[in-house]
């Protein structure tokens, strides 16, 4: 891999990390703890879950799983674009 591609690869990776980790922070520390009491005034539509509690005990965990899946997909796309995808 040439120098330019290697830099592009690393910069894109850092951009993905920043975006995904912001969501990671927002759902757990944000919705699950800091804003949970405020969010508890609403309920998850169609269920009895108070929204803050739902984020803390269910929603954040589901989001974590999705975040990793998205990262795997983003990195695979990037590697294919740069021609360094390992078969």
């Amino acid at each position: 891999m040439n120098e330019r591609d290697a830099q592009l690869y690393w910069r894109s990776n850092l951009r993905y990390l920043a975006a995904l980790l912001s969501i990671w922070f927002a759902v757990s520390f944000g919705c699950g703890v800091l804003f949970a009491p405020w969010l508890n005034q609403w309920r998850l539509p169609g269920t009895g879950f108070k929204l803050g509690l739902w984020f803390a005990q269910q929603g954040s965990i589901y989001t974590f799983v999705v975040l990793i899946a998205v990262y795997v997909a983003l990195m695979a796309r990037l590697e294919k674009r740069l021609g360094c995808y390992e078969e």
Binding site: M1, A6, Y9, W10, N13, L17, L20, L21, W24, S28, F29, G32, V33, L34, A36, P37, N40, L44, T47, G48, F49, K50, G52, L53, W54, A56, Q57, Q58, S60, I61, Y62, F64, V65, L67, I68, A69, Y71, V72, M75, A76, E79, L82, C84, Y85, E86
Partner: protein, 554 residues
């Protein structure tokens, strides 16, 4: 068949399965023994990681903690799953890219320093031994409660099983037994949860049953909140400690999870860098299955307990109540002498003390489920404890045979010699762990905070900076690790052992509990490492090259 014979049959069958797998997956080389030849499929590795990670504490105690702490208990649910996001995004792919056998080997090579490697070995040994002692104890306790042997006999049986498959199979044997153990433990966790959910919420999906509305427009959580308020307990959906403390504990558990050596090494076993990422995702998916069920078990079992026990005359209580009273996990003290169980939030008037572990252990009986379900829970608890113990013991044995012996003391040792010593150190580690399980230092429960705090304040940042900072050098990393470690260790030791009477929020710094202090420790590590690295020469060119290599795709 009675509960006890079901337990014998199910535990016996599961043990036979583990031993059979160990014989099938015997390790033939050090690469087999340390990283299962790097040929484990990412989904298989994900399942093994899930079993490796979920210990007796996750299986037996977590639902009880969540039930007792309500919203405050969410820190464990988020902390122990959110760490996998950090692992998948910040750790696993780079460590796999580096492609060595152990965490100390990574630290040593990245910083080009034997001293850094030795410090890392000491951290790994300390973290692993404190953890494994608790697991062996857990094995003993499950045995004694379900099979009515003494705790010591239970520890001996557990030692014999782990000794057999860890020493024979190494990482390869452990990987395949952990897959079987995951299947046993998740099945054992979900079956009672599904039964309880059907009975209380009328749906077989516990995660859904938790919030599903009944005819009156109330959910299971609303009903529990109502019951709790009536009896003077804190409401389930609003309970919680200080906000800053909740943030710190969550963050410390996340960082600690990502920094635990027995979890990190699992990602060396997959064939490709890409597999390390997806494998962490699979692991989290398998873990999430249990962790999202835990609050449902907490709410359902707690509701059943309050409904069947509270306010009832003692003489009319079901049989299981008396059986568990015999183990000391339920204590009833008829303070006002009226023969009725008053379970109240007011500690003066409360007559019933329920140990947190009982919610899972007794959930089949509390929910009135068939006898075989109770036997299944015993097999599941043992699977959770044994799989974690084996993973930790492997870290201990590789740290000794690979990092200390081959890396520092006897570099010219042959492949066969190293494999031999890896087996010997695994055997010795099992014996030491068994000794700690038989003679638990009075603070097994306390040291869990220790293990996570130390992992968060040492390994976590040292590895992170090793990948993401090209400027970080050996003096910076070592002084950071030592500063973070000593800060965290002194805070925990002070509040847990020196002055346990002062271990209350008023005395903590900014209300941060010893469980959450690892975060401040990591910040101390960060600040010290950065300053020292600025004041000392940058790392030599070949180490900068190594960082470039870690960051490249292949």
């Amino acid at each position: 068949m009675s509960v006890q014979s079901w337990t014998f049959v199910l535990v016996g069958l599961s043990f036979a399965l583990y031993v059979g797998l160990a014989l099938w997956a015997k390790a033939r080389s050090t690469r087999d023994f340390y990283v299962a030849d790097g040929a484990v499929h990412p989904v298989v590795n994900g399942m093994a990681t899930a079993a490796d990670w979920m210990s007796a504490a996750s299986f037996l105690s977590m639902a009880g903690m969540v039930a007792a702490l309500g919203h405050g208990g969410s820190v464990y649910l988020m902390g122990w799953t959110g760490g996998y996001v950090l692992l998948a995004l910040l750790f696993a792919p780079y460590l796999r890219r580096f492609g060595r056998f152990t965490v100390p080997a990574f630290v040593g090579d990245r910083y080009g320093s034997q001293a850094a490697r030795i410090v890392a070995v000491v951290c790994a040994l300390f973290v692993s031994f404190t953890y494994v002692a608790g697991q062996m104890r857990g094995v003993g306790i499950v045995f004694s409660r379900f099979l009515e042997v003494s705790i010591d006999t239970g520890v001996w049986i557990g030692m014999a099983i782990v000794l057999f498959y860890a020493v024979l199979g190494g990482m390869k044997g452990i990987t395949y037994t952990q897959v079987a153990q995951y299947c046993v433990l998740i099945f054992a966790y979900l079956v009672p949860a599904i039964f309880l959910s059907l009975r209380i919420a009328g749906t077989p999906v516990p995660q859904w049953g938790l919030g599903a509305l009944d005819e009156t427009g109330r959910s299971a959580i609303d009903r529990l909140d109502g019951l709790q308020r009536e009896l003077g307990f804190a409401s389930y959906s609003e309970g919680g400690g200080g906000l800053l403390d909740m943030l710190c504990v969550t963050a410390a558990l996340m960082a600690g999870t990502a920094g635990l050596p027995h979890v990190i090494v699992r990602f060396y076993t997959v064939p490709k860098v890409r597999d390390a990422r997806s494998s962490a995702g699979w692991a989290l998916l398998f873990i999430a299955l249990l962790y999202t069920t835990a609050p449902a078990v907490a709410v359902f079992a707690r509701t059943s307990l309050l409904e069947t026990v509270s306010g009832r005359p003692y003489a009319q209580l079901p049989d299981w109540f008396k059986k568990w009273e015999g183990t000391g996990l339920i204590r009833f003290d008829d303070k006002n002498g009226d023969g009725v169980v008053q379970h109240l939030g007011d500690a003066q008037a409360n007559e019933l003390i329920v140990d947190r572990d009982i919610l899972v252990l007794a959930s089949p009986e509390i929910g009135g489920l068939p006898d075989w379900v109770a036997g299944l829970v015993a097999a599941g608890g043992l699977a959770a404890a044994l799989s974690t113990a084996a993973g930790l013991l492997l870290v201990v044995s590789t740290s000794i045979s690979h990092d200390l012996l081959k890396g520092a003391l006897w570099p010219s040792i042959t492949e066969r010699g190293e494999l031999f010593f890896a087996r010997i150190s695994a055997a010795v580690a099992v014996l030491v762990a068994g000794y700690l399980g038989l003679n638990p230092p009075g603070f097994v429960a306390q040291v869990v905070a220790f293990a996570f705090g130390l992992a968060a304040s040492s390994f976590f940042l040292t590895i992170l900076l090793g990948v993401f900072s090209r400027r970080m050098n050996a003096p910076g990393a070592i002084s950071g690790m030592l500063a973070g470690l000593s800060f965290t260790a002194s805070y925990i030791v002070y509040f847990k052992f020196v002055a346990p009477a002062l271990n209350t929020p008023e005395h903590w710094w900014w209300g941060i509990s010893p469980e959450g202090i690892g975060v401040l420790g990591a910040l101390v590590n960060f600040a010290v490492a950065l300053c020292v690295a600025r004041l000392t020469p940058p790392p030599p060119a070949h180490l900068s090259k190594l960082v470039d290599l870690l960051r490249s795709p292949r």
